[in-house]
């Protein structure tokens, strides 16, 4: 049992922290937000230069063979700096599908572009009524010759606006809520029949609602078994949840730090408001919540390697539920302790709060995951 980073992992942490300290303060972030697509190609290029975009891929595929802990380190750092760039959509999720189920040809076609930063991906999964159920898929992929024809609507596709390739879940068989008959398809974003309606999200990222109308793709577009890929989707989304947990820990760390600094300097009644016990206790509770979240983020990261899929997803569900509770408390209290200034766009704390809040509503909220743990028979 060991919770320390290896020497190599520490170096990785130092290097990404260093990069973001130099190129991602709050003012710089505002500029990146205004760039086309809502994030910085230059920063993305720097992440590629440091090998971070190739981190989880096997060396044989042009990557660096990093595991869950490496992704945790990166996501925590990205959270801490409130990074806008599509690491989750491209490297963790898009890359996840390629790593777990991509053929050699699919990997050859997509991984080099991810690693060198020239291509980004997006995961088109959410539907009008699917909410958090990954098996609830109404979009269809019908066989046509060797290939497939995709029809349906996907919503809130993160990085959907900018992605070169969309990873689309679609039903090849059965009814909307059947757990079999679901496939995963790689679709060029500029394919005929793809229309994207783009918009910024509450936390300053960008997403798109995407309609697929008679979109034709070849036989080689399917990743994994086109008739039975739910387990694959669950595996990759579990990894995305773990990554979000780590990002949330980074966000909470920075929120707590910023808030504590603020109450140490903000004076009322002639003293720093941090000298008041009611505020001290609130900050202590925020610390407790953040530590519990950090523990569960580590647990989820290590659970990512569990052989038993049920144990793995139960552990990750527990982590997402715990982190949801913690982030709500830390986020809300950060605003409260900042007082009026916390309500302004000008102060950075509100932006952390908004990103934390959106994480709660991504890939299952606290209630959803708590229910999953309950239905699985608990955790003891």
């Amino acid at each position: 049992m060991d919770f320390d980073l290896t020497e190599e992992q520490r170096l990785l942490k130092d290097s990404i922290d260093g990069l973001l300290t130099d190129s991602y303060d709050f003012e710089q972030r505002k500029k990146y937000m205004k760039e086309k697509g809502g994030w910085s190609k230059a920063v993305w290029g720097k992440l590629a230069e440091q090998g971070l975009l190739g981190l989880p891929f096997a060396e044989a595929d042009g990557g660096f063979g990093g595991g869950g802990v490496e992704t945790m380190i990166v996501m925590e750092a990205l959270g801490k700096a409130l990074v806008l760039e599509p690491y989750l959509a491209t490297v963790v999720i898009g890359g996840g599908f390629l790593r777990h189920a991509g053929t050699d040809a699919q990997k050859a076609a997509h991984v080099p572009g991810i690693v060198d930063g020239s291509k980004t991906l997006a995961f088109a999964q959410l539907e009008k009524n699917s909410r958090y159920d990954l098996f609830d898929v109404a979009t269809t992929a019908k066989k046509k010759g060797d290939g497939w024809v995709i029809d349906g609507e996907k919503f809130v596709v993160l990085n959907g606006e900018n992605a070169d390739t969309l990873v689309v879940t679609a039903r090849t068989k059965g009814n909307r809520r059947d757990t079999t008959g679901i496939g995963v398809f790689l679709v060029p974003a500029d394919a005929k029949g793809v229309t994207r309606k783009s918009y910024p999200t509450q936390d300053g990222l960008h997403a798109a609602d995407i309609t697929f109308t008679g979109v034709e793709v070849g036989a080689d577009a399917a990743i994994g078994n086109p008739e039975d890929s739910l387990a694959l989707i669950e595996r990759v989304v579990d990894e995305a949840r773990v990554a979000l947990c780590a990002e949330a820990v980074g966000l909470m760390d920075e929120s707590l730090k910023t808030t504590v600094e603020y109450i140490k300097t903000r004076k009322q009644f002639g003293v720093a408001i941090g000298s008041f016990q009611s505020l001290q206790h609130r900050a202590s509770d925020m610390f407790v919540a953040a530590e519990q979240a950090r523990s569960m983020s580590m647990f989820a990261t290590m659970a990512g390697d569990f052989e038993n899929a049920k144990e793995r997803s139960n552990a990750i569900a527990a982590a997402k539920a715990q982190i949801g509770k913690s982030l709500k408390f830390v986020g809300q209290q950060s605003i409260q302790l900042h007082g009026g200034i916390g309500m302004t766009m000008e102060a950075k704390i509100g932006h952390y709060f908004k990103r934390l809040t959106m994480i709660e509503n991504t890939f299952g909220d606290t209630d959803y995951h708590q229910r999953r743990v309950a239905d699985a028979g608990g955790l003891i």
């Binding site: 647990f299 290590m302 715990q322």
Partner: protein, 396 residues
């Protein structure tokens, strides 16, 4: 980072577990599972079994009878002990006064007291709190005056846990009235049967008799019963309180209780079916289990850190463990109340001193809920723990 225990650690867990299986008296275990109190004999019998095995004072230095285990082994031992469940060693002797004596006492004191603590030949109690000195412990007033070769002790202690069983007390007494309040305190030990010691029971809201008031009326104590230096008692008290770190989370205790809740919830009906099938209840139970898992991981982080970098100074992480650990313990007793519903009400007039076998199992559930309100109060209330985090961690 790696969650797995080593092969040796897993083998150690098996060894501990099978020792408990073979050696904890079944009645003792059953009573703990049912949330009943134990008699003094039952406790002492078990502690002597443990001591005979060499595990009675496992965390003491080897020369005083300790095991030399790693932090992870201590963690495993505690977790297995709590979740089997078996009675935990008597903290007042084993975790509190023992370490003070082997760290600050003289050779004679070590020889005289340590083996008797390990074998519970002496049952120790703690004379710290006073009616006017709770969280502000350093304001204590009990006085020890030097007269020739004796201390003359006058004053009153309170919340003295299981003083009714105790042979010995370790006491914080004021020995210098003119010094700053933390500087004039000494650490003195003496027999409870000394002339002038009176123990009066305090009945707590659960109906039980766990704590007492202890009065000292011109109690004469030989001067050699001072531990360490005169007027340094506050330092020893801080040492003693900081010593108990990861055990305070009581993760094993909560785990065992959650297993019991799950078991009972499969039997007790609500709406014509077992209450475990009620989704609202089940989700509440899951929420508590998730919090406990997070706490267990937090505790493991502290354990792993101690194993690697040594114990060093008291770790503010212990405040996190205390706050969360006590909240979770309280939640588990709430969930038990919820499971039995209206049958929480009947009160057993005979009480439970460990001998009332006729008592229905449901009769102890409400008292246990009432009694567990204490866990966020004792050992430095959770508010004090928040003060510690604010100062020591956040620098406020």
């Amino acid at each position: 980072m790696d969650l797995a225990f080593t092969k040796e650690e897993q083998a150690f867990r098996e060894e501990v577990r099978s020792f408990f299986r073979d050696n904890v008296p079944p009645d003792t275990r059953r009573k703990l599972v049912e949330g009943r109190h134990l008699t003094k004999d039952e406790m002492v019998t078990w502690w002597r079994i443990l001591n005979k095995k060499g595990w009675g004072v496992s965390h003491w230095p080897k020369q005083y009878g300790g095991t030399g285990w790693t932090s992870v082994q201590h963690y495993i031992f505690n977790e297995e002990l709590q979740s089997y469940p078996a009675p935990q060693p008597l903290a007042f002797g084993v975790s509190m006064v023992g370490p003070v004596i082997y760290t600050f006492g003289n050779e004679e004191q070590k020889k005289k007291y340590l083996p008797r603590i390990a074998n519970v030949d002496d049952w120790w109690c703690q004379g710290f709190s006073e009616p006017g000195s709770g969280s502000d412990l350093a304001s204590l007033k009990t006085k020890a005056e030097r007269k020739g070769d004796k201390w003359i002790i006058n004053g009153q202690k309170t919340w003295t846990t299981l003083a009714q069983h105790a042979d010995m007390i370790f006491c914080l007494c004021r020995t210098d009235n003119n010094a700053k309040k933390q500087m004039g305190i000494s650490f003195i030990v003496f027999p409870m049967k000394s002339k002038g010691v009176t123990v009066r029971p305090i009945q707590t809201i659960d109906g039980g008799h766990e704590v007492n008031e202890v009065f000292f009326d011109d109690v004469e104590v030989p001067v050699e019963n001072l531990i360490g230096e005169e007027n340094k008692g506050w330092d020893y008290a801080k040492f003693l309180l900081g010593n108990e770190r990861t055990g305070i989370a009581r993760v094993g205790v909560s785990k065992e209780r959650l297993r019991r809740i799950r078991d009972l919830a499969g039997k007790v009906e609500s709406g014509g079916k077992p209450i475990i099938q009620d989704s609202a209840f089940r989700e509440k139970l899951a929420a508590c289990e998730i919090e406990l898992k997070a706490l267990e991981l937090t505790q493991l982080r502290v354990v792993a850190d101690e194993g690697k970098h040594g114990k060093g100074k008291p770790n503010p992480a212990s405040s996190v463990l205390k706050i969360k650990g006590s909240e979770i313990q309280q939640t588990t007793t709430e969930l038990l109340m919820e499971v039995i519903g209206p049958f929480a009400a009947p009160y057993d007039l005979h009480g439970d001193d460990g001998s009332n076998e006729a008592m229905d199992w449901t009769a102890q559930i409400a008292p246990s809920y009432f009694n567990n309100r204490k866990v966020s109060i004792y050992g430095g209330s959770n508010e004090i723990q928040r003060n510690i985090i604010a100062k020591a961690v956040l620098g406020l």
